[in-house]
């Protein structure tokens, strides 16, 4: 298991938290909640060691579009980068969509 933490700049506050995914094989759980500070903070716990550079690439791409001041916690059980990106976007959609 490996723990990682990243910070990204944010431009706007986040109002609603969201939870998607499960810590099952090839999947991950995302907890997105409003952050207390002005930046976005990402905390990762992953079952697969040694892929920090891949996580960084996925997050760099995600934060090219996302600018919310969110705390995003990822509990990962071997999800591929594609699945991680899908779950992140699903969490944003759940946080910002019309239906609670």
């Amino acid at each position: 298991m490996e723990n990682m933490r990243y910070e990204y700049p944010a431009k706007r506050p986040v109002t609603r938290r969201a939870h998607v995914g499960v810590v099952g094989s090839g999947d991950l759980e995302v907890l997105l909640s409003p952050s207390q500070n002005a930046n976005a903070e990402v905390v990762i716990r992953t079952s697969v060691d040694g892929y920090g550079h891949v996580w960084k690439s996925v997050l760099d791409r995600f934060f090219q579009r996302y600018d919310g001041a969110a705390k995003i916690e990822l509990n990962d059980f071997g999800a591929t980068p594609g699945v991680v990106m899908l779950r992140l976007n699903e969490a944003v959609e759940a946080s910002e969509g019309d239906t609670p």
Binding site: M1, V22, V23, G24, E29, L31, S33, T46, S47, N75
Partner: protein
């Protein structure tokens, strides 16, 4: 409707997560989760063993209404650690059932449902998980004097180990054809006793012994449903309509002793068991 349209019209229960399963059963818009993922009551033991935690520890507890009546549903997430019962997930389910018991003690009513999907105790948490399972079993027995406690085994994990006993203690059990119910899982039996004893890869054999259809046929479960959320919901509602029986299945001790006396362990197979024990 042809087979293709029937299949498309069906909403799979098995494919849903624990949280989605509860939402599918409760009346629309009444889902209210207790101790959800943002409460972060997760296992204190898994991280020490280098295993990633889930924020709800794989147990989802929610209140709402079911057929217009107050309800409390506890669901186990099949994808997280095989639905295994740890200290926290087990305590959440036990506490949920005790909360339901408290409603009756306060003169109110509530419909308790447990959605089983578990290999049993979480080995990494050993005795703490077992203690929690004992609490779940005690709570089911206390609660079923007031109201039917309805269990659902959806599949594909099934229900094994100590939690198979908890399922057996429920007033009524609803199973899909894909679900399995047994004390030891087939993989465990093969590992311990050898492939000559049981080939866990023989799916037809395994399901013919411990699958939902067989379990309902021999009276160890009550309602067989297709993998369809509407059918599961209807079966659960029907179980509550029937009310508390005069005698629960696990109180029929003489009946089960007589049943066991009929069985010759050297010459038993699923068909013979249906002939001996069949209820229909």
């Amino acid at each position: 409707m042809n087979a293709h349209d029937t299949f498309l019209a069906r909403h799979s229960f098995i494919e849903l997560t624990a949280r989605e399963r509860i939402r599918a059963l409760l009346d629309k818009g009444t889902f209210r989760e207790l101790l959800g993922p943002f409460d972060r009551i997760e296992s204190p033991w898994l991280a020490m063993q280098n295993i990633v935690c889930q924020a709800d520890d794989g147990a989802v507890i929610a209140r709402g209404t079911l057929g217009g009546e107050p309800a409390l549903i506890a669901a186990i997430e099949p994808a997280f650690q095989g639905g295994s019962i740890g200290e926290v997930s087990g305590a959440k389910i036990a506490a949920a059932l005790e909360l339901a018991l408290g409603e009756f003690e306060a003169g109110r009513t509530i419909r308790p449902v447990v959605l089983f999907e578990t290999g049993g105790v979480r080995l990494q948490e050993a005795n703490l998980g077992l203690a929690a399972i004992a609490e779940i079993q005690a709570a089911i027995v206390a609660l079923r004097a007031h109201v039917p406690v309805v269990g659902v085994i959806g599949g594909m994990v099934g229900c094994f180990g100590g939690m198979s006993l908890a399922a057996a203690l429920c007033t009524e059990l609803v199973m899909t054809r894909q679900a399995r119910l047994g004390m030891n899982g087939p993989e465990v039996i093969e590992q311990e006793a050898g492939i000559e004893e049981l080939d866990s890869g023989d799916r037809r054999l395994i399901w013919s012994m411990i699958g939902g259809e067989e379990r309902v046929a021999v009276g160890l479960a009550d309602t067989l449903v297709e993998d369809d959320t509407d059918q599961v919901r209807d079966a659960v509602l029907a179980a509550f309509e029937r009310g508390v029986p005069k005698q629960h299945r696990t109180e029929n001790i003489d009946g089960f002793i007589a049943r066991l006396a009929q069985v010759n362990p050297d010459a038993i197979d699923p068909d013979t068991l249906r002939t001996l024990w069949g209820t229909s």
